[in-house]
Symmetry: C2
Subunit: 638 residues, 2 copies
């Protein structure tokens, strides 16, 4: 965490200096704004938190409720989400309070006494070391709290606008001719009940859930053939003799099945009690299932154990099917190639599925993270508006994969054990699917911000299109061994990791030539896209990783491009020079060539390109279409 | 972290439910209170934070300043302090923002060119793995902020009373006859400037610094022969080419010496520039040394490097000698053996010394932690008042050791390199002194709350009198591998670790007999001292550590004493059953006998006793004098 360089910070350093809209942010919802986000669920909040780091962009996020979410809803946090929380500076804090899920138990009927369940398997949750971050369970409300704190402490000083309901929106016929092409009707709830407002925005993000009004307004639909499935879900405190009450369990018995999830704090747990497929003519009658019936059924399922419920914090009956929206934005399918979308959908507004794999909140947050930085860069003039078309093209396939995975998993989970060909099919699938379930198999393919895989062999551990998998390294300036990926804050900046070739720091090398080009050549993205009056690292955060032991050279042996000057005193940022650890070699661990490599990482932590140190032309080309020059071309020539 | 068991906690779980004084705490300083702490430095704040966990005790902490400390003062946090912060629930947060000190550089004149300095050694800061916690550097103001948050979130909802100056105090002639035997005169500063108040307290803690008014009021004196030494200290931002600017350095050159300390945030650093011994007739003239002279001298010392200071956050010239108070409390030396002290001194009010070893804030906090829980237990009626006499007897020797250490270290640091017999004497001493400097060699000897070392061989890694050195283990209920010592919150409870003998959980064993005795025998401390109407673990937090792999038994195989019932629903706390790790065996790592052992740990994390599982009489005896029974003896017999 860096601070003090803009002046001494006496209090909480996570509270950044106010800037832009944050210097005088209107408390009331204004008539016009750059971005309007509808809904404060996980997708909307992460998008808002990301946009709050662009203080020149006026973003508002509205919510029907009159205040924060208090309980209920989702609770599964895959490790990819915790990685993401690290970028929003709250991974450690939420890890402290969340339930840490390390293994899963499978319970099935005892073959010798089929009325009773017995434990049949107990695989680790992350057998393969997919991430250094844990798989957590914590109430969604707390995730939202942390995002709310992040935006409040951001330079924008953003807070949600509670008590506003989305009614409708219209997009101007020629949106490119208007400054605020989207007109939105809102209705006030609570204190100002009933009054309506019309506001205008450059862009609207619909994060308003499975029954999204924004989706309806742009004429998009959730499609899916499969029937709804019903669940009784309850967050409870109980006296029990079930030995795995603090372990995630898939329980199948003669009496039905339960997905059992221990929760934060050591006592609370959630049970999803399977109520079966909903008949076509049910007409939501299942929702009237009394809580007592759900509790009684849970006790039948866990026989010979008991669950004596003492307190119910929250419960619900819900029905859900596997459905996917036809498009993540407002552009018609036959829109011209250069048309720009202005309304986007995220999260449950795009995809609904079972809770069985604990995916929903996680995939939704990746939607929001993806659209967040893109809107931030476009609305602040850093990137061309065409960038916004990559949102649908990247996230729609991710949602398709999610629906397919969840359909398989929930079908398997719902199959009575005696009908399975292989009695261990469920746990086998679970272990095989770990990497997907952890959120690590999302892969973005070639588009305007993605390189191809021509040079993938230079860094086989950083597949282009996948999230950057961190590794520990030694920070030269202060001999701090740290996960280098954890330095990647959600500040909207691109990351460039320069893995050095073998010569010593300071000696002639490909790394040295690359650094020289990057810092001085008028064609380098650093020269072209960094505003003259800001920090040297305002757009690109560039780190070098040397192969040498950190005691074998001195800090200032590194080229100056890795020591950028920042802040009012033009101090050098000294934290970008790193060494591979000799007892945990970065180059070996991630398959980095000893000839060096450039790894380019997007603001949302996805690997954009792997390039040779000497292919500066490819690096130039990558950013040609991805960023806008802040200065007239003439100035660059000078 | 445990929560939800007293009812669903929707917001920040570190904010505990209000209780006792916290239900209706008066905002204004009251006329009478249980404990009055004077001064909000590290010693006073940790004592207040500890007392805030005793909501039946009304504690106030006053401060001359009108608000929080903003900058300056101490910044060195040894690993023992970070262990302590873990007990106050903010170790992880402060670790995120602090500078992490992993190695130290020693710079001395270049033999070939003595006008220039060169690096001569670079030892690790913790060569010997003294603690799993780091050595940190962070402004004292932030430490105080975290303690302030802790007390605010405690059941007492405590906040400091700012703007009150201590004037004088008197202790009643027969204090045992009075409810509030200490009368204190205070003066209001700031808004209510000049008005005076007289308040009365059961106990007063003087944490009011080197010029302590409380010390003067009880007639105690700082003694010490050594002359004062002067330092120019500055927290600055600078442009520099000194390669170790982000490493702690001891720099000796022809031009003088510097202790250089990188600070939190990546840019700020502190330099202590040695201004030499202060002449007896100096009359504080040294304090007029201009900042420019200090900066110029720093540049001379670091030659051939430069330090171009761009911004000065704080600077000071200070003079300090090695001085120690004659007693840590108000009792005269000839007081009867059963007399009870009512006024206590902590921190700089008791001991002053150089800043060179970064000890001051740390030792002061251990003073405050020590007196805090003792006052809490005595004032709440849990422990007899005689406990308070152990404060002086434990902390005075600790302060003596500190002064002796600091005198040696600062003398060595101040000796010109050419006068040292061994040119590596400074770094050699530094490495040898690591364990002391980290705060780990404090050792309390036999007194009313300490056992002797008769059975030390049953747990050689837990020396009686030293702080409990944590080790990782597997928590059975949820397969969470955790440092067991990190579960020790500063909640004023005693900890008992029952290391099991070899038989399997549930089988006949010494552990099983001990558990049976502890839970059911009328003579067991658990039965005698636990109030009937509270949680089963209100006074003793008891954990078992089995030798078996955690998959080799089930949670409920453990005896019920390890599954205490708590909260309004009488739910079982399931987190006290642990297993040694097979790849990092607890018994081997801490020299625990395979026959098992009981390790008793005080509320301030010091090992009180090591006992055999079958010596229940010794365990009974240990607590006979240390705690008071909450119920009439008749009820216990029943």
């Amino acid at each position: 965490m860096q601070f003090h360089h803009y002046g001494y910070v006496s209090e909480e350093p996570k509270r950044l200096p106010a800037a832009g809209i944050g210097l005088n942010r209107p408390e009331e919802l204004p008539d016009e704004m750059d971005v309007l986000i509808v809904g404060t669920g996980p997708a909307g909040m992460i998008a808002a938190a990301q946009l709050s780091m662009f203080p020149d962009v006026h973003t508002r996020i509205i919510e029907r409720r009159e205040g924060r979410l208090e309980l209920g809803q989702a609770d599964g946090i895959q490790s990819r989400s915790v990685e993401t929380f690290q970028a929003f500076n709250f991974a450690n804090e939420i890890m402290e309070e969340a339930f840490d899920l390390t293994e899963m138990s499978f319970w099935n009927p005892d073959p010798e006494n089929p009325e009773n369940i017995i434990r049949t398997a107990r695989p680790l949750d992350d057998e393969h070391g997919i991430s250094e971050f844990p798989h957590l369970i914590v109430n969604q409300a707390r995730v939202l709290d942390y995002f709310a704190r992040y935006m409040k402490q951001s330079p924008s000083r953003m807070t949600p606008d509670y008590g506003w309901e989305f009614v409708d929106l219209q997009i101007a016929d020629n949106p490119e001719n208007e400054e605020y092409p989207v007109t939105v009707q809102l209705k006030q709830l609570g204190a100002g009940e009933g009054s309506t407002r019309t506001v205008r925005a450059k862009y609207v993000v619909g994060s308003d859930g499975a029954r999204s009004g924004v989706r309806e307004a742009i004429g998009r639909k959730l499609d899916g053939k499969q029937a709804n499935h019903a669940w009784g879900v309850m967050d409870v405190l109980a006296d029990t003799n079930f030995p795995d009450i603090r372990t995630k369990c898939a329980i199948h018995s003669k009496a039905g099945s339960i997905l059992h999830i221990p929760r934060e704090g050591g006592y609370l747990f959630r049970m999803y009690v399977d109520l079966g497929e909903v008949r076509a003519d049910d007409n939501h009658a299942v929702r009237k299932t009394p809580l007592e019936d759900v509790i009684a059924k849970a006790n039948e399922i866990v026989n010979p154990y008991f669950v004596d419920v003492k307190d119910v914090a929250w419960h619900s009956i819900y029905e859900v099917g596997h459905r996917l929206v036809d498009s993540f934005h407002d552009l018609p399918d036959d829109a011209p190639a250069d048309a720009i979308p202005h309304v986007f959908l995220t999260g449950d507004a795009c995809h609904t599925h079972s809770a069985k794999a604990g995916q929903g909140m996680n995939v939704s947050m990746q939607d929001g993270f993806n659209i967040g930085w893109k809107l931030g860069q476009v609305a602040s003039g850093t990137a061309p508006a065409a960038l916004l078309r990559t949102y649908h093209s990247e996230r729609h396939p991710a949602a398709e994969n999610l629906i397919n995975f969840d359909r398989e998993w929930s079908t398997l989970m719902a199959t009575p054990p005696e009908e399975l060909d292989d009695p261990t099919a469920v746990e086998t699938y679970y272990v095989a699917a770990e990497e997907f379930a952890a959120g690590m198999l999302t892969e973005y393919s070639d588009n305007m911000i993605m390189g191809d895989t021509t040079h993938q062999d230079l860094a086989t551990g950083f597949p282009v299109g996948r999230r950057f998998k961190s590794h520990p390294a030694m920070r030269r300036c202060d001999a701090n061994k740290k996960h280098i990926g954890h330095e990647h804050d959600a500040d909207g900046r691109w990351r460039i990791y320069a893995f050095a070739d073998a010569p010593a720091p300071g000696a002639d090398s490909k790394l040295g030539s690359w650094a020289e080009w990057m810092q001085h050549d008028p064609q380098s993205p650093l020269r072209r896209f960094t505003p003259e009056d800001g920090d040297d690292n305002a757009v690109f955060d560039i780190k070098v990783i040397y192969q040498q032991h950190y005691h074998d050279y001195d800090l200032f042996d590194a080229p100056e491009v890795f020591l950028p000057r920042v802040g009012p005193y033009r101090l050098q940022n000294l934290e970008n020079v790193w060494s591979s650890l000799h007892d945990d070699d970065f180059f070996n661990a991630r398959g980095i060539s000893r000839e060096g490599a450039i790894v380019v990482v997007r603001p949302d932590q996805y690997v954009s390109a792997v390039l040779p140190l000497d292919d500066t032309a490819a690096l130039k080309e990558l950013f040609d279409g991805a960023l806008l020059e802040p200065r007239p071309a003439a100035a660059v020539q000078a």
